[in-house]
């Protein structure tokens, strides 16, 4: 990663100064050139991955979570809002997409869009409520609303309760791409992920994104400059919910399943962890975090509850010793080396 580009008035380098005003540590933001090279390298590596003998289903799972974490990071890393209920958007889109594809017989692209639309709507309602309080209250409110949504899905007839919605047809994308083929499905997921990833980067570097960062750094000041902070927070919340919905809907189509796992509070915790571990407030952090956690879960799958213990331990270690996350620490190390 490069040192901050002087042209982008993005967050400046070190976060060593003790009391940070927002939760996000100002990680070095790569310049446009570095970003383009890194993104291209990532895209090529991901496109080649199935031929390197990596199981496509594993990759697709990791990509869905990577997009989910990027969407979450938009809120935590760039607005400084910690939502502890993001699973409600991921899971809602999963249920709606699965229902649309299976019961309404919609093609996969429309099913995913329907899921994302449902999450967007839910995001608008819950966001308007949650931004009435700040800090830890915001976290507790989103957690509580998500739990309410969980109980709703547990009892609602269309979700299939504990069984979930099973054997969802993958169908044909745009009528031509047969998603039953694992490789075709993989490249569709990769395209969706890259589109979402670039959208997040675009949002962060738009004038809108800079206002978000201003609110994160000093909300009263942003307000005094004439920005309606609540309006900006709400839009960011809805955008984040929408992209989480794209991720959740895609996951439901890939796994042909929508279940309660995706709306549980554990899932909300998991996306927080991915972002924290990878590096919040960095563009690549959530991707790295998601791949790390999904790999970990993959290898520990037969170890029962040790996954929970290790996940929790990573949380503790990250908070105590490693607050910039993997990408953030690397960027810091690189910036120091060049200095």
């Amino acid at each position: 990663m490069d040192a901050p580009d002087p042209a982008t008035p993005g967050p400046a380098a070190p976060a060593a100064a003790a009391p940070a005003p927002g939760i996000a540590l100002r990680a070095a933001d790569p310049s446009l050139r570095t970003f383009r090279i890194a993104t291209l390298a990532m895209a090529i590596a991901l496109a080649a991955a199935p031929f390197a003998g990596i199981y496509p289903v594993f990759l697709m799972k990791a990509l869905c979570f990577a997009l989910f974490a990027c969407a979450f990071n938009l809120l935590l890393g760039y607005v400084g809002l910690l939502s502890f209920g993001h699973a409600m958007f991921f899971g809602t889109a999963g249920y709606v997409s699965a229902h649309a594809a299976k019961v309404w017989g919609l093609p996969p692209e429309l099913a995913i869009l329907a899921g994302a639309a449902a999450s967007t709507l839910l995001g608008a309602v819950t966001g308007a409520l949650a931004i009435r309080r700040q800090g830890i209250y915001f976290a507790m409110i989103t957690l509580a609303i998500a739990q309410m949504i969980f109980f709703f899905y547990l009892q609602a007839p269309f979700t299939g309760g504990e069984d979930g919605i099973q054997s969802v047809p993958r169908g044909r994308m745009f009528g031509v791409l047969d998603l039953a083929n694992a490789l075709t499905m993989y490249y569709v997921v990769l395209a969706i992920f890259l589109a979402g990833f670039l959208a997040v980067r675009r949002i962060i570097h738009s004038p809108f994104g800079h206002v978000l960062k201003a609110i994160r750094e000093n909300e009263p000041r942003a307000i005094s400059l004439g920005y309606d902070a609540d309006q900006y927070k709400l839009i960011a919340f809805v955008l984040s919910a929408a992209l989480s919905g794209v991720a959740g809907g895609t996951k439901a189509i890939v796994f042909q399943l929508a279940s309660l796992t995706d709306v549980q509070w554990q899932m909300s915790g998991e996306v927080v962890l991915m972002t924290l571990l990878g590096g919040m407030g960095t563009v690549f952090g959530p991707v790295v975090g998601a791949f790390t956690i999904i790999s970990l879960e993959h290898y520990l799958a037969d170890r029962g509850q040790w996954v929970t213990v290790i996940t929790g331990a990573i949380f503790v270690i990250c908070v105590l010793a490693f607050r910039r996350g993997i990408v953030g620490e690397l960027a810091e190390w690189w910036a120091k080396r060049r200095a």
Binding site: A18, P19, A20, P21, G22, I23, L82, F84, L129, R132, R133, G135, I136, Y137, A139, M140, I141, L143, A144, I145, Q147, M148, F151, F152, L154, Q155, W265, G269, V272, L276, G304, Q305, W306, V307, T308, V309, T311, G312, A313, I314, F315, V316, C318, V319, L320, R323
Partner: protein, 295 residues
């Protein structure tokens, strides 16, 4: 049989009692959260796991060492309070200068570790805790039977809550505590050892959670997940009550327990969600919570 609104009195009274019992636990747990939050500015996500460990401590003391309920009421809170002190000294104390959200993240991680460890050791099924001999039987109130243990839980938790309220609001020690909540630097300058007070406060809050756990052991199954779902409801209770006042936390806890119980009678489908719905309504009308002040 007599009826109120078409519901048999007995069923109504029964659900009210269950609501009151749940409310007792909401009150004790949200009280602990409020006390910890007041001084440490940390939302203790581990509270649910600590409550669960309190119940397990009672179960282990009884089944492995043959130590009964009454001693457990003393030993479990003290032991877990010490464990809390250890957590505060080794981990939480490093976070005070950072954003409050890191405290939430750290305690969330700790809750996962503790819950996972207990699940590995004891599985997911619940362990029954034998009711102490003294509490066998029930009082006949005429319109319903009141099991002795349940009556004890409601009375005991009221005593615990009111004692805590008295200590914090009406004693010298409590005044130091409240002063340190307002302005730790000034209190320190007056010669009060604020860091030690913070440590002990966390230990006390954890002890309170453990005490609730011991009291819950004979009522609910002792299982590793018993705290995880409860803590989310308690968070909603805290948002509804606002964390400004100790009395508010107690009142909201009992009140919401009763409302939840009544919902089970009149509209059972909503009994899981009613507290969250109330939270949404309170947020719309009084964002700071019923007893809270914006801070």
């Amino acid at each position: 049989m007599t009826e109120i609104f078409g519901i048999p009195t007995q069923a109504l009274a029964g659900q009210l009692l269950i609501g009151l019992i749940n409310g007792a636990f909401y009150a004790m747990l949200s009280l602990g959260l409020a006390v910890i939050f007041g001084l440490l500015n940390i939302i203790n996500f581990t509270h649910g796991a600590q409550y669960m460990m309190g119940a397990f401590a009672a179960w282990l003391l009884l089944s492995k060492l043959g130590i009964g309920y009454w001693w457990s009421l003393l030993i479990a809170p003290v032991a877990l309070g010490a464990f809390g002190v250890l957590i505060e000294r080794t981990m939480l104390s490093r976070l005070y200068k950072l954003d409050h959200l890191y405290g939430l993240l750290l305690t969330f991680g700790l809750a996962l570790v503790l819950q996972g460890l207990f699940q590995n050791e004891y599985g997911s099924s619940g362990q029954p805790y034998r009711l102490p001999q003294e509490f066998a039987g029930a009082f006949d109130l005429g319109f319903m039977m009141l099991p002795r243990y349940r009556a004890w839980v409601v009375v005991a938790s009221l005593i615990v809550c009111l004692t805590t309220w008295y200590v914090i609001e009406r004693t010298k020690l409590g005044s130091y505590l409240r002063a340190a909540t307002e302005n730790p630097t000034v209190v320190q300058a007056f010669g009060v050892n604020v860091p030690r007070m913070i440590t002990l406060t966390y230990g006390f809050g954890v002890g309170l959670a453990a005490l609730a756990g011991v009291m819950a052991a004979p009522i609910y199954q002792v299982s590793p997940q018993m705290g995880a779902n409860l803590i989310i409801v308690v968070f909603a209770v805290v948002v509804i009550g606002g964390m400004g006042s100790i009395g508010g936390a107690i009142l909201t806890g009992f009140g919401l327990g009763v409302i939840e119980g009544l919902t089970k009678v009149f509209y059972p489908e909503a009994s899981n969600t009613v507290i969250f719905v109330i939270m949404v309504i309170v947020l719309l009308i009084r964002p700071a919570g019923l007893f809270g002040k914006e801070r």
